[in-house]
């Protein structure tokens, strides 16, 4: 009996140390991938921010122009809000799990926002996790992209952007939201939801270069032409930015999850080890007392 108990504990310890080995390996892999993703993130942020800057400049320019009432109203079809009959959500998730609450958080955020929509909703899913979730619940899926979450390319961002711009122009959706995970630091990341279309840039009050000379900005060949080019570009880079942010967050979420798993496994092993020693000690004590009592009986 005692021997069986010992053997069981031993087997349990071995099992858990195997798991710990795997989780530790995954932790290392995730941290290498995270480092790579972070590098990419650092390189892509300037591009995205520049485009945002220029868009904001144009918006300020248009607003000032309108207030001076010298010219006709300039605008773009992607900037005009209309009645919302159907909203589309682009949801950036991971292809794989084992990343703690990463996937759950992003899906929950999208879901709670959707529940508040009066009209219809549809989704464009990125990553298997979001696809599986929304497919199981019979949501209308306008597009699905998998195998790009870990290693996002500009080309895939471009095709997603194209898809949602087309849908918006055709009028099959009236609003497009982008749900992704923003990477703040190696241990903190936030699910974030932003409205992609219709375009309504938040005018940041940047301290360094306020409206500076914006009044005399020249748009070649015309403001409309520039907007025609710039708005799709902006959408693309927003999506690309979201993909890169999410990829980085995914890896760091996975790293943290695996680190916790490894630590927990360590604790369990320590516990079991203690149990094992106790059981071993108990069985030895028992054997000795049996021998002693046997010897006493003989004498």
């Amino acid at each position: 009996m005692a021997v069986l108990g010992l053997r069981n504990i031993k087997r349990h310890i071995r099992g858990i140390s195997d798991i710990r080995q795997i989780t530790r390996a995954m932790e290392l892999v995730a941290s290498v991938k995270m480092r790579k993703a972070r590098e990419l993130l650092g390189k892509t942020r300037p591009h995205f921010q520049s485009i945002e800057d220029v868009i904001n400049d144009i918006i300020i320019y248009i607003k000032e122009d309108e207030s001076r009432k010298k010219k006709r109203k300039v605008g773009h079809e992607l900037m005009e809000a209309r009645e919302v009959k159907k909203a589309c959500y682009i949801i950036v998730s991971a292809d794989r799990g084992l990343a703690g609450s990463y996937n759950v958080n992003i899906i929950r955020m999208a879901q709670s926002h959707m529940d508040k929509q009066a009209g219809e909703v549809s989704v464009i899913t990125i990553g298997q996790k979001a696809r599986d979730y929304f497919r199981k619940r019979d949501y209308e899926i306008d597009g699905e992209f998998t195998q790009i979450s870990e290693d996002p390319t500009y080309a895939s961002a471009k095709s997603i952007a194209k898809l949602c711009i087309e849908m918006y122009i055709q009028g099959s959706v009236d609003e497009v939201y982008l749900v992704y995970t923003e990477f703040l630091s190696a241990v903190s990341y936030n699910p974030k939801l932003t409205k992609l279309l219709p375009l309504e840039p938040k005018i940041k009050e940047s301290v360094e270069d306020k409206p500076q000379t914006v009044k005399f900005m020249l748009y070649e060949p015309s403001v409309e032409e520039v907007l025609n080019y710039l708005i799709p570009k902006y959408i693309e880079s927003m999506i690309y930015g979201a993909l890169v942010e999410s990829a980085t967050s995914e890896q760091s979420a996975r790293r943290v999850a695996m680190k916790n798993a490894t630590d927990n496994a360590g604790e369990i092993i320590d516990d079991l080890q203690l149990k094992y020693h106790r059981a071993r000690q108990a069985s030895i004590t028992q054997e000795i007392s049996e021998i002693v009592s046997g010897a006493e009986a003989l004498s």
Partner: protein, 134 residues
């Protein structure tokens, strides 16, 4: 000494160039555009083409694809989908791309295909031109 201004060329995956320069020349949708210091603020979309940068009497060239240029006071930036120095260009790949695009254009498929092939052809030609400059 000619006066200078700060030029940044930003690609999606890196800051391609960031320095004080005397002049930059790009090709916009309306044609060539040269920017010197104290140019009037401007925004213009760019077509696939060459960027010429002049700094300290020496000039440099790079191949870029679509993008746009924004000129502000003392600061100019070019934002593009891709940018390459001559030495970074993979001549073999560009030649292969050129051949492929030409074949596609000869075969005449749908409208979209032709536009894409033309853009690919243009990129390949620009790359080859920039690379051969060396």
């Amino acid at each position: 000494m000619a006066s200078t201004f700060r030029l940044q060329i930003i690609a999606p995956d890196r800051i391609f160039y960031d320095d004080e320069v005397e002049m930059v020349a790009v090709s916009t949708q309306d044609g060539g555009l040269g920017v010197l210091a104290r140019h009037i603020p401007l925004v213009a979309p760019l077509v696939i083409g060459r960027v010429k940068i002049k700094k300290g009497g020496q000039s440099k060239e790079a191949a870029i694809s679509e993008g746009f240029i924004q000129v502000k006071r003392g600061y100019t930036r070019v934002i593009t989908d891709s940018a390459e120095w001559p030495e970074e260009i993979d001549v073999e790949r560009a030649e292969a791309a050129k051949k492929r695009a030409e074949e596609l254009l000869r075969s005449r498929k749908s409208h979209v295909d032709i536009m894409r092939a033309e853009a690919a052809l243009q990129r390949a030609i620009i790359r080859l031109r920039v690379a051969n400059r060396l």
